[in-house]
Symmetry: C2
C-alpha cells in the first residue's frame, strides 16, 4: 500500500499554499534540488566534457525513458526522452503517416491540446500531399474512425475538462480498421494507469513537467511500438539518433530500434531534475494512486457542489471517465481564480470559463481538499473575485 504521507514529505510545498495545479506544473521534489546541486558542481563543474561518459549523460534519454515506460506499460527500450511535446508530436505523426501512405486523414478531436493540432497543421503543409486534419467532437470520435483515416491522434485526458477517452476501446477499433494510433499522455503519465503495450498503441508522446514533477521545461517523451521501431525513417534525423553518432559519417543511418527517435544533444540539467523526481515513483503503486485520486476528486466535487451552487461541474461526473483533475465552469472564472490564487489556493483558468483543479495524491490529501474548498466557498459567497485587480485576462499557461 502506497504511503502518501511519505510521498508528500518528499516535496517542497510553500507555506500557506494549497497547490491544485500539478496538472500544469508539478511542485519541487526536494531530491531534485539536491540532485541539481550535484549535477552542476560534481558533474558539469568537475567532470566537464567527460560527464558525457562518466556521469552517464549520454544515456539519459533511453535510461529515463525506460523508467517512464515502465509506468506506462511500454516495452523496455521503446520510450525516448527529449525535446518538447510539440516536437515529439511532429516526429510521431510523421512516422505514423509514413506507415499508411495511401491514406490522407488525421482524425482528432476539438478537445485536443492546440499544439498537437498546430504541429499536425505544420506537418501537413510541409508534406504537401493533401493530408487533412479532421476534427470532431470528442464523443464522436468512434463514429468517424473509418478506413479513410490514416492516424487517430488523441489526447487521452482533455486539458480543460479532464474528460478521458477509452484508450483501449479506441485503439482496438483503430487497429481493426488499419488506423495507426498516436496518443498524447500529457495528462495521463503519472496520473492514472496506462497500458500502452496491452492496448496495442502504435505511438505515444507526453510531457514530464505535470504529474511527473520534472520541473519547468522538463523534456518530453515518445513511445513507438516495437513492431514499428525498426521500420521508421525519422523525419527529425539528428545525430544522436544515428547508428554511430561519433563516426561523423556524412549520411544518416538510423540507430537500431527506438533510439533513432533521439535528435540532438539532451538537456542534461533538466534530465537530472526529472530523474530525481522519478525516484518518488519507486514508492508508488499506480493503482493506489488512481484510487486515491478518485476518492479525493469525489470529495472535492461533493464539497464544492454542496457549498458553491454557482459553480457548474465541467468534468465528467463518472470518475472513471475523467483524469486526475476537476474543472468547474463559471462565467467570471478568470477573476475567481485570481482571487483564489491570492488566497493561496492555486488552480488555473482555461478560456472561456473553466476553473481547473488538479488532484495529485502524491502531495494533496483530504485536509488540503477541505481547506481549499473552504477558501473557494469564501471567495464565491462573498464575491471576493469581483474586484478590478482580478479582471485582467489570462496570458499564461
Amino acid at each position: 500500500m502506497t504511503d502518501f504521507d511519505a510521498t508528500k514529505a518528499l516535496f517542497h510545498l510553500p507555506e500557506g499554499v494549497i497547490y491544485l495545479d500539478g496538472n500544469s506544473l508539478g511542485p519541487l521534489p526536494r531530491a531534485a534540488a539536491q540532485v541539481m546541486q550535484k549535477t552542476i558542481h560534481k558533474e558539469w563543474g568537475e567532470m566537464l566534457i567527460t560527464g558525457w561518459n562518466k556521469a552517464g549523460w549520454m544515456e539519459q534519454p533511453m535510461r529515463i525513458g525506460d523508467r517512464i515506460g515502465a509506468m506506462l506499460g511500454a516495452e523496455p527500450g521503446h520510450v525516448c526522452l527529449g525535446d518538447t511535446l510539440s516536437i515529439k508530436v511532429y516526429q510521431a505523426l510523421a512516422a505514423a503517416l509514413a506507415l499508411v501512405p495511401e491514406r490522407r486523414v488525421i482524425l482528432s478531436d476539438s478537445g485536443n491540446f492546440p499544439t498537437d493540432l498546430y504541429m499536425a497543421q505544420g506537418l501537413i503543409r510541409a508534406l504537401g500531399r493533401g493530408h487533412e486534419l479532421r476534427l470532431v467532437d470528442p464523443e464522436d470520435v468512434a463514429d468517424h474512425l473509418s478506413e479513410e483515416v490514416a492516424v487517430l491522434m488523441l489526447t487521452e485526458v482533455d486539458y480543460r475538462t479532464g474528460r478521458r477517452h477509452d484508450m483501449r476501446a479506441l485503439s482496438e477499433m483503430a487497429r481493426d480498421r488499419g488506423v495507426v494510433t498516436l496518443w498524447d499522455l500529457a495528462h495521463s503519465a503519472g496520473a492514472l494507469p496506462v497500458d500502452l503495450a496491452g492496448c496495442g498503441v502504435d505511438f505515444a508522446v507526453g510531457c514530464t513537467y505535470k504529474y511527473l514533477n520534472g520541473g519547468p521545461g522538463a523534456p518530453a517523451f515518445i513511445y513507438v511500438a516495437p513492431r514499428h521501431a525498426g521500420r521508421i525513417e525519422p523525419v527529425l534525423s539528428g545525430w544522436l539518433g544515428h547508428q554511430a553518432p561519433f563516426a561523423f559519417d556524412l549520411d544518416y543511418r538510423p540507430a537500431a530500434g527506438s533510439e533513432r527517435l533521439r535528435v540532438g544533444t539532451p538537456p542534461v540539467l533538466q534530465m537530472a531534475a526529472l530523474e530525481a523526481a522519478l525516484d518518488i515513483w519507486d514508492r508508488v503503486d499506480i493503482d493506489d494512486l488512481r484510487a486515491r485520486s478518485i476518492a479525493l476528486g469525489e470529495l472535492f466535487i461533493s464539497e464544492v457542489e454542496s457549498r458553491c451552487p454557482m459553480l457548474t461541474l465541467a468534468s465528467p461526473r463518472d470518475p472513471h471517465r475523467r483524469g486526475s483533475q476537476v474543472s468547474f465552469a463559471f462565467d467570471e472564472g478568470y477573476a475567481a481564480m485570481q482571487a483564489l490564487i491570492d488566497r493561496g489556493v492555486i488552480g488555473d483558468f482555461r478560456a472561456p470559463d473553466i476553473m481547473r483543479f488538479g488532484i495529485t495524491p502524491l502531495y494533496i490529501d483530504e485536509a488540503d481538499i477541505g481547506a481549499a474548498v473552504a477558501v473557494i466557498a469564501e471567495v464565491m459567497h462573498n464575491a471576493l473575485w469581483d474586484r478590478p485587480a482580478y479582471r485582467r485576462r489570462a496570458t499564461v499557461t
Copy 2:
C-alpha cells in the same frame, strides 16, 4: 580593455585541470550555480506555476535571444532560443527553402557538422519534392554557388579543423545569385565577432553550451533576418509560436515576426543557467577576445610545433582563417588524447586522427598554454599514450 584575469575568476575550473575543450562544453560559471539554486528554490519551489509570469520564464526565449543577438550583430527581436541545434537547422532550412520554391539544391560542404546534413536529409525526405543536398569540399563552395542553388547551408568554423569560412564574402556572393544563406554558428558564437545584419545573412542557428558556457544541453538559437520574419510559415508550428497561445484556438496563426520560431515549452532550468553565463559577456569586448584568442592560439601552435614534431597542424596556419580552436593530426590521436586527459589536459578527439584543443580566453591564459604544452610534450616524447588502457575507441562527443 577586457580584463581576462577577472573573467577567469568567474568560472569554476577543477584543480589540476587545464581545460582546452570549451569548444565542446564550456565550464561552469560560478554564477550559473548560484542562479540555478535561486531558480529551483525561489522560482520553481515557491512560485510554482506562477513562475511563468512572476519569474519571467515565458519571456526567456526572446529575452535571452536579444542578448545573444547583440553578440552576433543581429537586429533586436530576431533571435529566439529553444530546442536543440538539430531542430533549429530543420526549422531554418524548411523556412529558407520555402523562400525559393523554384530551386532544388541545398549546397553545403563535407566539413559541415553531420547533424546539419542529417537534418537536411530528413527534411528532404519529408518534403518529397526532389531537393538535393550537394556536398562539396569547403574550399570549393564559392565555385558551386550557382543560380541552381536554393540554400547555402554552412557552418562558419569547421568542428574538426577550425577552418573558417569567409561569411561576408560568401553571403554577398549568395545574395547576388538569389541564394538564401543559413549559417551554423556553433563554433562562432562567443568565439569571434559575427556580423549577421552587416553580412546580410538570411538565417543562422547555433548552440550555447560551447563558447557561451550555458551548460550541458543548453538550448539552441535561431536567427531570421527581419526582411523574412513576417513571411515565414513555420513548419514546426508550436503553440508558443502562435499569435495568441492562451486563446487555445484550434487553428495555428503565426506570432508576429521572429517569435513564430518558438515551438514548445522552454527548458526553464537550462535557460536560467545560460542567462547567468551570459552575464560574463557584459564585461567582454569581442574584438579583445578575438585578439587574445589569436595570440594564445599562435603561442600554442608555435610551442607544440617546436616541441612535438610528430604532431601535424590540421588547422589553417593563418589565424584569420581559423576559429578559436587548434587541431593537430596524429595517427594515434585517440590514445594520445586519453593520455593527456589522464594528466589533466582536456582536449578531445575527432575521427580519424584529429586532436582538438579549444582556445578560450575567458578562462585560459598564457600560463595554461605553457603548462598544457609541457604535458603534451611529455606524453608525446615518452609515448605515454602507448598503453592498452588508452586504446578504446571514442564513443562520445
